[in-house]
């Protein structure tokens, strides 16, 4: 039983990471209708910033998260304003192609700057955990889950309690109408993408503490963010949270049950079933 409890806890902790990774992806997809294939690369940029600050100035990885957010926001804003805005009204394939190219460029730049060496952030407390009977909760991963919930809360607050959030939602609902009421579309697009990138950066900072990072380590995260958003549904923060936690649980329980080789298979079978039975995702809004 305690074995099962342990697996559930690990699943939720892993799910927290997926929530953090998927929040920004979901925002960009939901509002801008861009499936951002460079999302995983942005995540890893965040990882490298945390790693760099940790190795250079011994800044605690959790303290560097706001810096990740800030740097990635600037990168994201500039990318959207300078590049992606040009094809934002083009068919989906164009943005696909463009973000795929951006992904390649970011990965190659990381390769040039950081070389393909494996890096990891290992602070002194990295191996400690809370021991409750025979169940262990690693502090780092628990910290990741807490950050994920803070991010989700921040995202919800931005979207539902601020003027900027209202403007972002308006752009998502109807671009032309939003422009008619005086919203600066190009600025709003860039702002949305910047926020998405900032959230990706924070997720990357967390990831660097328990996995090794390389320039290409981001690719699986794009796929996972995609799956989480499909599973949970577009358009709601709570949907991303539910999707992420479910995905983490499936992965860990899949590892201990039928075997890790099947974990992804199970996750995607669940995904297909959700798509068939409830095409808008578990909590998604109807378009």
């Amino acid at each position: 039983m305690s074995q099962f409890t342990q697996q559930v806890i690990l699943g939720l902790l892993l799910g927290g990471i997926y929530v953090a990774v998927a929040l920004g992806f979901s925002l960009v997809w939901g509002i801008l209708n861009i499936v951002n294939l460079a999302h995983g690369a942005l995540v890893i940029v965040g990882s490298y910033i945390t790693w760099d600050l940790f190795t250079r100035w011994h800044i605690d990885p959790f303290l560097s998260l706001p810096i990740d957010a800030l740097v990635l926001f600037v990168i994201g804003y500039a990318l959207q304003r300078g590049v992606i805005n040009r094809v934002i009204r083009a068919p989906l394939l164009f943005t696909f192609l463009l973000t795929f190219g951006i992904n390649l460029i970011i990965v190659s730049l990381l390769l040039l700057i950081f070389t393909p060496d494996f890096r990891s952030v290992t602070p002194s407390y990295s191996g400690n955990g809370l021991h409750l009977g025979s169940v262990t909760i690693p502090y780092i991963r628990f910290g990741g889950l807490v950050v994920a919930f803070l991010l989700a809360g921040a995202m919800w607050t931005i979207l539902n309690r601020t003027r900027i959030g209202a403007a972002i939602l308006a752009v998502g609902a109807d671009r032309d109408a939003a422009q008619l009421v005086g919203i600066d579309l190009r600025h709003m697009y860039a702002l949305t993408f910047g926020i998405g990138a900032a959230f990706a950066g924070v997720a990357g900072g967390i990831i660097s503490t328990f996995q090794s990072i390389t320039p290409t380590a981001g690719d699986p995260y794009t796929l996972q963010a995609f799956a989480v958003v499909i599973l949970g549904g577009l358009g709601r923060v709570s949907a991303t949270v539910l999707g992420g936690l479910t995905f983490g649980l499936i992965e860990i329980l899949g590892q201990s049950g039928p075997g890790p080789g099947y974990a992804n298979a199970i996750a995607f079978v669940v995904l297909v079933i959700v798509l068939v039975v409830r095409p808008r995702g578990l909590l998604g809004r109807l378009a």
Binding site: F118, P138, S212, T216, A217, S256, G259
Partner: protein, 411 residues
């Protein structure tokens, strides 16, 4: 009188020696056309790190041989070129690029890519074109079970990677008995694990936990917590660098305390120590080669000269890891085989490779009938206070195993 005779004798000897030298070398050998080697290695993508190490090994030899004017074929020195393609860590692309190297870039010989998967596909192309390939980074025996005639591997096969750790563990006291095995599901890692599972009972060990995970996704916390419940004496990972780091971190976080942690790939690279800091200590790995081994090479550099040449060329303080050394060894096999064949003809060089038996800084290079170098042993390394020590077998070791590994809580 006596002195005169001696003088005449010396003069005669000198004449004879010069004459012989002239006959075999033709004075200074004239320079021939460049010999073109082709290599498709991973310079981008998931395996760009290992691919980069492979290229370093090739380039180290390339500099050395060209400083000497090239490979001597029948008294004629042929300078060497290596043409590279980037397989982007995609095995199928690797095969396409090898074909391109052979047809478009006129590569006469192929140096292997990084990894068993890419090597397996490249071997098909080499065979089809009748171009010899010597590879240094594909240890899966399945590559050599298809009856290919043109592919040779200088490295010890996959089944030897972790069995050395078991040989060592059998000598330790108190003797560990139980093993938990975490295996990536690629052909190389599965072979490594299978060999451990077959070999363990013969040495009195019991494998109590064995699970495979997908090679691309190093999220293994669920598996580690399962293994931790069983309190295994030995935790083994047959996988790759990324997973060995994740497993070591996970073991600490989830309180998996074993007497021996041994990983097939990863701990030998400097990255492992840099990424984990003091947590890397006590970890064992099976290594193709270490800078401490004591082989007496018949040509090329000695082990210490090799390490020095590496550090100079790449301006680093890191020792070359075994991926670099084995890649250089592949070049040495080609060099010797071409010299022995006295020809650049593909089939003659292939035959010379099949009959090769030479001692290098990397160890003995000799191929069995399948083309695998089963004659070179693997060594066991341990990280002690942030430094690699060769700890087994005793005759090449420069340190003793630190055993048992203390629990995480008291480090």
């Amino acid at each position: 009188m006596r002195r005169e005779k001696l003088g005449i004798l010396l003069a005669l000897t000198a004449v004879v020696v010069t004459a012989c030298g002239g006959a075999s070398g033709g004075g200074t050998p004239t320079t021939g056309a460049a010999i073109v080697f082709g290599a498709a290695v991973s310079l981008t993508g998931a395996q760009s790190k290992e691919g980069g190490l492979t290229k370093q090994g090739y380039d180290l030899w390339l500099d050395w041989i060209n400083q000497r004017g090239g490979i001597v074929v029948n008294g004629v020195k042929h300078p060497v070129q290596i043409k590279y393609e980037d397989d982007q860590s995609t095995p199928n692309l690797s095969a396409t690029l090898v074909q391109k190297l052979i047809t478009d870039e006129k590569a006469q010989f192929i140096l292997g890519p990084y990894g068993s998967a890419a090597t397996a596909t490249d071997a098909i192309v080499a065979e089809k074109n009748g171009v010899p390939m010597v590879e240094a980074n594909g240890a899966a025996q399945s590559i050599f079970s298809k009856g290919y005639k043109f592919t040779f591997g200088v490295l010890s096969p996959a089944n030897k990677y972790l069995t050395g750790v078991l040989d060592m563990a059998a000598t330790l006291s108190p003797k560990p008995t139980t093993i938990a095995m975490l295996t990536a599901n690629d052909n190389f890692s599965v072979e490594v694990a299978k060999a451990v599972e077959d070999y363990a009972p013969t040495k009195g060990f019991q494998v109590i936990f064995t699970k495979q995970y997908p090679a691309a996704a190093p999220e293994v916390s669920g598996l580690i917590s399962q293994a931790a419940r069983l309190n295994p004496d030995i935790v083994m990972n047959s996988g790759h660098l990324a997973e060995s780091i994740a497993i070591n971190k996970g073991a600490k976080q989830l309180g998996l305390n074993a007497k021996i942690f041994a990983y097939s790939v990863g701990p030998s690279t400097p990255d492992f120590i840099k990424a984990l800091g003091p947590d890397a200590n006590y970890v064992f790995d099976g290594s193709q080669w270490t800078p401490q081994v004591k082989y007496k090479p018949s040509f090329y550099l000695s082990v210490s000269e090799y390490v020095k040449a590496y550090k100079t060329k790449y301006s680093t303080t890191d020792d070359p890891d075994y991926h670099v050394a084995e890649s250089t060894a592949a070049c040495l096999a080609f060099q010797k085989a071409i010299e022995n064949a006295g020809s650049l003809d593909a089939t003659k060089v292939r035959d010379a490779l099949a009959g090769l038996d030479v001692m290098t800084f990397f160890g003995q290079i000799k191929f069995d009938s399948r083309g695998i170098n089963t004659f070179k042993p693997m060594v066991v390394e341990q990280i002690q206070n942030g430094t690699h020590y060769t700890v087994f077998p005793a005759d090449v070791a420069n340190g003793k195993p630190q055993y048992p590994t203390p629990p995480w809580s008291s480090r």
